[in-house]
């Protein structure tokens, strides 16, 4: 009897599988099929920390201002205009008429105040309080010493006034990031956190559906203040395909319309094969080698650091190992961000000079130098880079031990190493700005005590320059100060820039209006694009 029942059940299941029609309620029907490597961890703008999540956040949520597509220029969004006081400390925003959340409720100045306060709230589990730190009274509010936040006030139903502790020129850039997203209080004050599953914003797309581990679909928000193009993209279905080779085959078969992160070793072939689909742009990301400035041989030894900088063939790494996707970096701030140096400057690679500097540093031919420990996360490309750097350093007599770890262990090692112990001497690091401004890009990495200053670099001259630049109102003076900061870091060999990231994208040619963003694929303004056929 049991056997018969089991057989019966098996037959029913097999029948159901056999009767299924592939694609009958599939995301294949939607206008744009976007390959994502993994599901997003958090669809809450104040918790999202990864680029996967940001791809949704940028479409689901609007802020007062936004980045113009393909640029870092800030333009009006929910606010149609704003005024900045002459001292650069007070920003008055005027909201548009007719703006609504996805649940249909009109947006008011009180919603803006709620959202910004939420971004500075520990109980809301915000990870964006450093973004909003320039607001007056933010530190006391964040530390829960007070419930008053004088830095933001609704002075009318459509007027919001923000006051800063000190002038902070990139403040509009901060508000254009995810930290400036506006959310409805009635949804986001729910202690059950249902908004994590069904986010509600006011962006050009609203949350439509989710198939766990398989896809998420967003639909066009028809009441959005931005008018949709005639042949605009009505739906975007994010399909989770982990492996880049598998994603590439799906693209070739026509099952996805957009992908990035091409499989390694295939760039030239894909570029040729899919010339009309292939797009490339520069990103504001830097791959660099950091030194341990707190202990070990590089501490207080600028000459030795310079020797290593001259020994590494960054052009080879970019041309051969990175397949030409990236750009060899000759300074720290990426091209496109204010304060960046001249692109195309000559590479530092000069083994003869490196050997001479080794003698000057007191380690001729590497004699007397302890073993150098190099730390990196073990992505395939980074393993090859580590091998190349070992070869380059070996050419000037330096023995290097490579320590490759999975990302979690690498982060642990990077952030918890004991300065007095047998520490890592060199570490590979990918860095991108939380908001695209050198204050964030350099400050966190190199200012004394900065959250991303893993090598414990400390230079009072740099600290002073960064503080001055952060509060400087005049754009030209500010840019000059960041150029000086960049030059100072290079002269001091505080790090070795390897390359600025480039990004390859594949998009079917029937889609027009693509303006890749230097921030990353997550910031593409799909709502302004069209499908021609």
């Amino acid at each position: 009897m049991v056997v018969k029942k089991t057989l019966g059940l098996a037959l029913i299941i097999l029948g159901a599988i056999a009767c299924s029609t592939p694609g009958d309620r599939s995301p294949v029907d939607v206008a744009l099929r976007y390959r994502m490597p993994a599901p997003p961890p958090a669809l809450d703008p104040i918790r999202a920390q990864d680029n996967n999540s940001l791809a949704y956040i940028y479409l689901l949520f609007d802020g007062l201002v936004e980045f113009a597509p393909g640029t870092l220029d800030v333009r009006p969004a929910l606010a149609e205009s704003w005024d900045i006081s002459p001292d650069g400390r007070t920003y008055t925003f005027h909201l548009r008429d007719g703006i609504r959340f996805h649940n249909g409720r009109p947006i008011t100045a009180d919603d803006v105040v709620y959202s910004i306060r939420r971004g500075l709230s520990k109980s809301a589990k915000s990870q964006k309080h450093d973004f909003l730190a320039p607001l007056l009274g933010s530190a006391r509010f964040w530390n829960e010493a007070t419930t008053e936040l004088p830095g933001i006030v609704a002075s009318g139903p459509k007027t919001v006034v923000m006051s800063l502790e000190q002038p902070y020129t990139p403040f509009l850039t901060v508000l254009a990031s995810e930290a400036g997203s506006i959310v409805p209080e009635e949804i986001y004050s729910d202690p059950s956190e249902a908004y994590l599953r069904n986010p509600v914003g006011s962006g050009p797309y609203r949350f439509d559906s989710r198939e766990p581990d398989i896809s998420i679909t967003l639909g066009r928000f028809v009441q959005h203040w931005k008018k949709a193009p005639v042949h605009g993209i009505d739906k975007i279905s994010f399909l989770f395909i982990r492996d880049s080779s598998t994603a590439m085959e799906e693209y070739r078969r026509g099952n996805i319309d957009f992908t990035y992160e091409l499989p390694p070793g295939q760039r030239a072939t894909i570029q040729k094969e899919l010339a009309n689909d292939f797009h490339h742009n520069r990103q504001l990301w830097l791959c660099s080698l950091g030194f341990n400035h707190a202990s070990g041989p590089f501490r207080l030894n600028r000459t030795l650091r310079r020797a290593v900088a001259h020994a590494i063939d960054t052009d080879f790494i970019v041309r051969q190992l990175q397949e030409g996707k990236d750009q060899a970096a000759t300074n720290v701030i990426p091209p496109g961000m204010i304060g960046s140096g001249e692109a195309g400057s000559p590479s530092l690679y000069d083994p003869e000079e490196a050997r001479r500097l080794m003698v000057e540093a007191g380690y001729p031919g590497g004699k007397g130098l302890p073993e150098i420990v190099y730390l990196s996360n073990e992505t395939q490309g980074f393993v090859r880079i580590a091998e190349r750097i070992r070869t380059n350093l070996s050419d000037i007599g330096i023995d290097m031990r490579v320590k490759m770890m999975d990302f979690g262990a690498y982060l642990h090692e990077l952030t918890t190493q004991d300065p007095a112990g047998p520490a890592t001497s060199l570490y590979r690091l990918t860095w991108f700005a939380d908001w695209p401004d050198p204050d964030n890009f350099l400050g966190s990495q190199f200012m004394t005590g900065g959250g991303g200053n893993f090598g414990r670099y400390s230079n009072p001259e740099l600290d002073a320059l960064m503080k001055r630049a952060g509060h400087e109102i005049d754009p030209t003076s500010r840019e000059n100060l960041y150029r000086q900061a960049d030059s100072l870091l290079m002269d001091d060999a505080a790090l070795i820039p390897i390359y600025w990231y480039g990004q390859d994208l594949l998009l079917r040619p029937e889609y027009s209006g693509l303006r890749p963003s230097p921030l990353g694929a997550f910031a593409i303004a799909w709502e302004e694009m069209e499908k021609s056929k």
């Binding site: 029913i12 159901a16 599988i17 056999a18 009767c19 299924s20 029609t21 592939p22 694609g23 009958d24 309620r25 599939s26 993994a38 599901p39 961890p41 958090a42 809450d44 918790r47 920390q49 990864d50 520990k122 589990k125 915000s126 990870q127 309080h129 964040w142 956190e193 249902a194 994590l196 599953r197 766990p212 581990d213 398989i214 399909l239 989770f240 395909i241 982990r242 492996d243 080779s245 598998t246 085959e249 799906e250 070739r252 078969r253 099952n255 770890m405 999975d406 990302f407 979690g408 262990a409 982060l411 642990h412 090692e413 990077l414 860095w431 966190s444 990495q445 900065g450 959250g451 991303g452």
Partner: protein, 317 residues
Amino acid sequence: MTRFIARRILWMVPVLWIAATLVWIFMFMIPGDPARILSGLSADPDVLASVRAEWGLDQPAPVRYGRFLWKLIHLDLGTSYVQQGRPVVEILAAGFMRTFFLAAAATLLAGLGGLLLGAIAAARRGRFLDTTIRTLTTAGIALPTFWLGLILMLVFASRLQWLPVSGYGNGASILGVRLPGLTHLILPSLTLAIFSASYLARVTRASLIEETSQEYIPAARARGNSKHAALIKHALANSMLPVITLLGLNFGGLLGGAIATETVFNWPGVGLAMLSALKSRDLPVVEGGAILLTAVFLLVNLAVDISYAMLDPRTRG
């Protein structure tokens, strides 16, 4: 038989506790801070501290272990650190069911293919067909699954375009569980089945050859059975014990997640979920998953032992 089953089920409790404790210790020991991974490279110390406090990671090890066991006893696996707001049970259940369908299809294919090939090879022992099957099954065992999956995909999906490249497909739903698309199931289950079928064919062949040398086979022939009837009715039935064991263990192993195959074919199963969770130190998912998979493996083993006991009462112990 009831006492036999009850005793085996009771034995599962300490085994599960040991497995859970080992997994907890390993996850405690491996470097990597879940709060840091989730919060990013430049995370603010305040934010890190509040995330750790929320998850109880700031507590001493005995307290954390005690809480872990307490929740486990109450069958509470918690919510994922990474997929925020999603219960671990939901993540594991969804992944497990998808892996179950894949494993069942692969085991079915492996069972049919392995038995058939093994029986043919035994019947044609020493002849061309036997040599061919032995050569092919050696290759089937030796080929790496990841590579084999990619080759099958490139040939049947990319080149010939007969089958989908990857994914779960859109099957019908039964009791809220969505079934995979039939065409989507073929390549990943075939990838998994090739290894198992090859192994099974060799075991079946060896087992059949051994059985055919037993005295009861000439006796069966003497009672008028043909050579093939004696082989199928008597020798095959008696050689089933190792075959069933192998199939059962293979099925139990596949339920643990066929990570390489799930990765190549983007099959959203439990293996892929566990791998992602391990990389991001999503402790509740890794711990819950390890316990679930241990329990499943023990249950499958129990089922194998029951079938063993039914086939051969001497093994009931």
